[in-house]
Symmetry: C2
Amino acid sequence: MANQKLFKGSLNTIILKLLDENGKMYGYEITQKVKLLTKGELNITEGALYPALHKLESEGLLEVEMLKVDNRLRKYYSLTEVGSKETVNKLSELEAYLKTMQTLLTPKLA
Amino acid sequence: MANQKLFKGSLNTIILKLLDENGKMYGYEITQKVKLLTKGELNITEGALYPALHKLESEGLLEVEMLKVDNRLRKYYSLTEVGSKETVNKLSELEAYLKTMQTLLTPKLA
DNA sequence: CAAATATACATAATTTACTTATGCATAAAA
DNA sequence: TTTTATGCATAAGTAAATTATGTATATTTG
C-alpha cells in the first residue's frame, strides 16, 4: 500500500478530475469510486473529503444539488465553468509533478 | 511550474534517494542538486530541508560528518544501514503512489 | 428480531509538514 | 562596498490532512 502521506496535496485534483469525468457525484460516491479505481490503495477519509468539497464550493469551483434517492438525501456536486477551467490547470500541474518525480527517481543516463 | 504543494510528503524520499545515489551530500548541495535535476520545478526551502535532515538523523536513517572545505564547514549526511533499507521501502511506496495517480488520471479504457 | 454493517453527511481537535521570516557567518562577485 | 552566493539553523504561522465524534436511515446477518 502506498504511503497515504504522499497523497497530501492531490486530493482537490482527484475530486475535480472525477467530477469532470462523471458529471456529478456525491461525497460518499467519491470515496467509493477512489477506493475502487485505486484497488484500495487510496482511502479518502470523510474528515478530509467533506471539508475539501465545502472549500471547493465556497471558492466557486463546485455547485451543489440536493437529491433524494431511495429516501436518502444526497449532495451532488458538479463543476462550475470556473471549476472546469481550474481542473485543466490542476491536472497539468499534477502531470508536471508526476513527470518531475519520475525524473528524480530514474537514474540519470548521461 | 508544478504546484509546490504536491511535493508535500515526498521530501524525505527525495533526500534518501539522492543520498543513495551520491553517497554523501550536505544540505545546500541537496537544494542545488534538486533544483538542477528538476530544472527549477522544485525548490526545497531551507526551512523544510534542515529540520527534515535532523529528523532523519534522529531516527537513525542518516549519519553526519563535519568537513571543512575551502575554509567552510559543511555537514555531510549519508545513509546508515537502516537508512538504506528504509530508502528501498520509501522508493517503492513512491512508485506505487505515482502509478496509482497515473491510473486515476488516465481515462479508463474499459 | 436484534445487532451489526453500509450508506450519507458533518465538524472539532489534533498532528504534520510545510512556508515564511529571521538570524549568523564567510566568500565571491558586481 | 554592497550585493549575491554559500552554508547552517530555528521560530512562527499555515494548510491539509488524520483521528475521533456525532447524527440518521437502510440493509444485511446471526
